[in-house]
Amino acid sequence: ADKPFGFYDATVDGGWRVPGEPYTVAPGSDFMWWRARMLGGRTNHWGRIAPRMGPYDFKPRSRDGLGVDWPLTYEELEPYYDKTEALIGVYAHDQSLENTPVSRNGTQMAPPKPRAFDLLTKKTCGPLGIPVIPAPIAVLTQKQDADRWPAKLFPGNPLAQRVVRDAMRERQACFYATGCGRGCAIKANFQSTTVLIPPAMATNNLTVVTNAMVREVTVDGRGRATGVNYIDKTTRTDQHARARIVVLAASACETSRIMLNSKSSLFPNGISNGTGLVGKGLMDTVGAGIGGQIPALENLPPHNNEGTTRLHLYTPWWLYKEQAAGKLDFARGYHVEFGGGRDMPDAGIFWGLENYTNGAYGKRFKEEARRYYGSFVYFDGRGEMIPNDDSYCDLDPTVVDQWGIPVLRFHWKWSSHETNQAAHMVKTFAQIIEGMGGKVGGAVEKDGSKVIAKGGQIIHEVGTVRMGDNPRTSVLNAHCQSWDVKNLFVADGAPFVSNADKNPTISILALAWRTTDHILAELKRGAI
């Protein structure tokens, strides 16, 4: 309850509920908002799944008439995916599939070997026409090349090269022990806390102010951002940080909350919100999954099944042609994450075993436990949601948090594109489980609205401060720069225009790097 992902989860002071900092949900909506209240934010807790968005994902409206196109192409972001992968370390497949690109410049690492259930899944999926390939994961499978990458990533910048080289040398390749979710003592996995912030601090150009809750962006009489007002939570006093440039990256919804609360005579509806679009276009990821028991996996010879503790193999979306031909009742794709086998026994192990053993207890329970241990698998779909007018956040007119800051109110509705997709997920997974000779746990639900995760539950909220190439239909330009306030930028998931089935972290990082390059270029030419 205090630590929703377990006592040892690397995120502290965060969760589905943050004491003293409520949010509200509009009548008829269902939405869960997970927040990380610590340095490094949400990178302290994530699956490390780092797939690139593909060329289709940037132009969804052009392809099927739904949603909104991004103001940039895959080719424009591609160099930043390369750089981000080289900086943080990502293992992945080595061949591009349709709309599932990999690096053309060797910036990704070799994947670890598949585990037993990975191989069994791959074998089963082959005849079903479902691809199973190495998953893109932000975990080092080898030492980073600290002599090569810093000079390539930061040409002409000896300070950046030095701190990044030192940081890379401190990181070790995965030692296939200790779960990623608890944080990595050898820095083999990517989280900002261990990979980005230490070298940034080593430049001596960074001051970190923690326990600071931003109330609003301040502006001068000409409408330029001058800094932020924040509350020092430890003293409960208001403070101001002055800035030439303000970059918001508070997580998508929190960023739009700051903007909506930054009201002034120039910006009565919140900063950069003349269009009223801030808060609109909120998206999460479609999630649905089922598990099953596989007799073939019973009584497997004891062996180490852990690997990186993250995905080794996965299934990227594969039915593009069927979708284009109108054969599916949903417009966008999903990828499949799966797992199982002889993992470290954890809380909940053998929850439900009674259904396989007629309620065994005593010595028979121990025998059944030995037999069934490692024979369970799960499949989870993670799919694209199309933005809709009913899913957004705004300020609750009557509720404030303990700092006196008006809180967000969430409005949420899945469309049939999402619920039909969820139904397709569980139907497909049941096919795979049966193909493995196994049995699905429970009945397979045909109604997607009954299996789809709640809005926010997958913790991939993006959108709400959309980028675009038209100031009337977007809040930010193609460089994540406010149309209205030239020295205000957004560098988290809020600028997202669509939410492909590709987990957002790597795209957030790549986009932020591109935004930073733009800021530097604009500073150089004196434009901001």
Binding site: D13, L120, Y176, T210, E306, P345, I349, E354, Y361
Partner: protein, 211 residues
């Protein structure tokens, strides 16, 4: 560590992962910079607990007589055999007491169910055999357990007790199989630092028809 670095880290208490002190594993002490606020480590709140020295911040509430009954039940579910000890030998009843005493809504509901179930067990044992559950012989215990070990097949008068039994079985399995002895029983292999990960050995591939 240079003092300038230390000062920058002051105030990071909410995010005080020791890992942040990159380049050294030493935690800064007050003597380094006595005038600066000390590194006080995790805030010590429930959402920011001391992970290195974990402690349970709540009192365990089950009484000694409830624990006696619970211990007998745990050992009826997970008895000693040739491969591993009984549940009570690795602290499972104490683990369940800690779980049931937690101040969260879900566990508060669980506590009511567990207390009610333990009371029912004794009442039933006395009704059938004129002695409390913990004093029953194995065959007497099994006569009660057989009636409540599987809720879908339990008679209507045993449904509530069967739900309770299932909760204890789940919790006992969690408590038991997450110990060194329980992991050994399952022949779990892992969480060992490896230079490289080789994937499943040939015997596993053969077992799966993948060799």
């Amino acid at each position: 560590m240079e003092r300038r670095d230390l000062l920058k880290r002051v105030g990071m208490t909410a995010a005080a992962l020791p890992i942040l002190s990159h380049g050294t594993s030493k935690v800064p002490t007050q003597s380094v910079a006595p005038q600066a606020p000390a590194w006080i480590g995790p805030a010590g709140t429930p959402s920011d607990p001391d992970l290195v020295r974990p402690k349970t911040p709540w009192e365990k509430v089950l009484t000694a007589s409830e624990m006696t009954t619970l211990t007998a039940l745990c050992d009826a579910i997970i008895p000693a055999d040739e491969k591993s000890p009984a549940a009570s030998q690795v602290g499972v009843p104490e683990f369940i007491n800690e779980w049931a005493s937690a101040p969260y809504d879900y566990q508060r509901g669980g506590l009511v169910q567990i207390r009610g179930g333990l009371a029912w067990l004794n009442t039933e044992a006395i009704r059938r055999f004129t002695k409390p559950f913990a004093q029953l012989s194995e065959s007497e215990r099994n006569l009660i357990c057989d009636d409540i070990c599987f809720e879908p097949k339990a008679k209507s008068e045993f449904k509530a007790a069967a739900k309770f039994f299932d909760l204890i079985r789940d919790l006992a399995a969690t408590g038991f199989y997450t110990t060194r002895e329980g992991m050994k029983d399952l022949q779990y292999i892992g969480n060992i630092p490896l230079q490289k990960f080789d994937g499943p050995p040939p015997a596993v591939l053969k077992h799966l028809g993948l060799a």
